[in-house]
Symmetry: C2
Subunit: 231 residues, 2 copies
DNA sequence: TTTGTTTTAGGACATATGTCCTTCCCCGGC
DNA sequence: GCCGGGGAAGGACATATGTCCTAAAACAAA
């Protein structure tokens, strides 16, 4: 983690994301911008929470680790999104671990200043409400989804949503996949994921190549997934 | 659903739950109190949401139904809690179905009045934030829990938390259980639940009787469940 | 190139869980 | 008391998924 002392950059991010509509003038001097390298932990389960973060650049992975050491990926996030909102409202320790998947920029605001300047500021509260209800909604969906459908369906759904919005993949339908991550996200074992991938291959739905997966039959996947898509 | 035109009753509930701290004077005339009979649906998945409800008496069951018709119980709620908060903030149709498990009283407030009178009222927004983050937290937990642990562990956990705080059970550790509901809550089939119950019986952890289950060895269950407890 | 190390895919088997169906028991209506 | 309905428990089997291990492939270092 590096603190970037670059007022220009902060102002730029604030403008792009219309953060001035959410916060107010008084708190602006207390915004800090942090940079994280790929793979770096942004915050760890169980530690005290001090900052609310606004993700303005890059991609992060949110996951939880059970006492037995199994990890379950809860979501990936891209700008603009907020990290540490739950902890701020509930005043609790950090609930899930957050790791930078790419190089990441986050605007950090210490709880102290939030409490002092925007805790009664309706736009800020409304913003948090929107963000959190949305998170809730997504989580609620994916929970039912995970519980109600077999891995086959979940993987189909995952492939669809990833190959769609992955803006940096060169060809549509071709997505680089980290199978271990995918397994943890879907909530299954690496072994079983492989099994299902293989099955999809023989069904001609996808093609496995070195380092990436090519979606060959989007409609076939969609039929499998039903209308249930990972958000 | 019956509307109770009883100002006295409303005022009483408002006092008990300190609702005047959350709302303001102007909206008070627009609070309505509804009564639902046991088994009645309070709201149904997919319908337009009009009211925010505050549960002030009784117990409700929140569940979702998949397109295939499988149901998954998300939670049970008792006073004081809020129904329809997500829908209000997101302005969407009703997400989950809510059913009265006992006779229920709810204070209903139409979105129209909320928007008009308390949408910028910090105490109300903060209240919603607290409620929703808490829901999120619980859901997040139970999701990981469901995904990470086998039915055995989930059932142990369920039995512990239900036999504990069930204030109306005559003897501690003796809880009346609706097995169908329990299965849907835990996210498994009725058949499999039976299997695990039977297993617990032979292990001497519990005793199955007509209409209820007796927890015989709380520590044994706790050891099985680990420290993970349904909220 | 050689060798050791790490990663990935897949085989073999065990376990968890789901589906379907039968049996049994209770209970109300006659 | 007899009969039929309905729910609860459990048997039999199929399927989904997990664990452990090995073979093959990729990779890094010498």
């Amino acid at each position: 983690m590096k603190e970037l002392r670059n007022r220009e950059l902060i102002n730029n991010y604030i403008r792009i994301n219309q953060i001035e509509l959410i916060l107010n003038e008084e708190i602006m001097p207390y915004l800090t911008i942090y940079s994280f390298d790929q793979g770096e932990l942004i915050c760890s389960q169980g530690e005290p929470a001090e900052n609310l973060y606004i993700l303005v650049k890059g991609k992060v992975k949110i996951f939880t680790t059970s006492t037995e050491g199994k990890t379950l990926i809860l979501s990936f996030k891209t700008p603009m999104d907020v990290i540490g909102d739950i902890e701020y409202v509930q005043n609790t320790d950090i609930v899930n671990t957050v790791e930078a998947v790419s190089s990441v920029h986050m605007i950090g605001i210490h709880h102290r200043w939030l409490k002092k300047y925007v805790n009664d500021h309706p736009p800020f509260l409304q913003f948090l409400l929107k963000i959190i209800t949305n998170k809730f909604f997504i989580k609620s969906n994916s929970m039912s989804f995970n519980l109600l459908y077999p891995v086959e369906v979940r993987l189909a759904s995952y492939l669809l949503s990833s190959s769609f919005d992955e803006s940096d993949s060169l060809y549509k339908g071709q997505l680089s996949i980290n199978s271990k991550d995918a397994a943890n996200l879907i909530g299954t074992s690496y072994r079983h994921l492989n099994r299902v991938i293989q099955q999809f291959c023989t069904q001609g739905l996808i093609e496995r190549n070195k380092g990436y997966i090519l979606v060959k039959n989007r409609d076939g996947l969609r039929a499998l997934a039903g209308q249930n898509i990972y958000e």
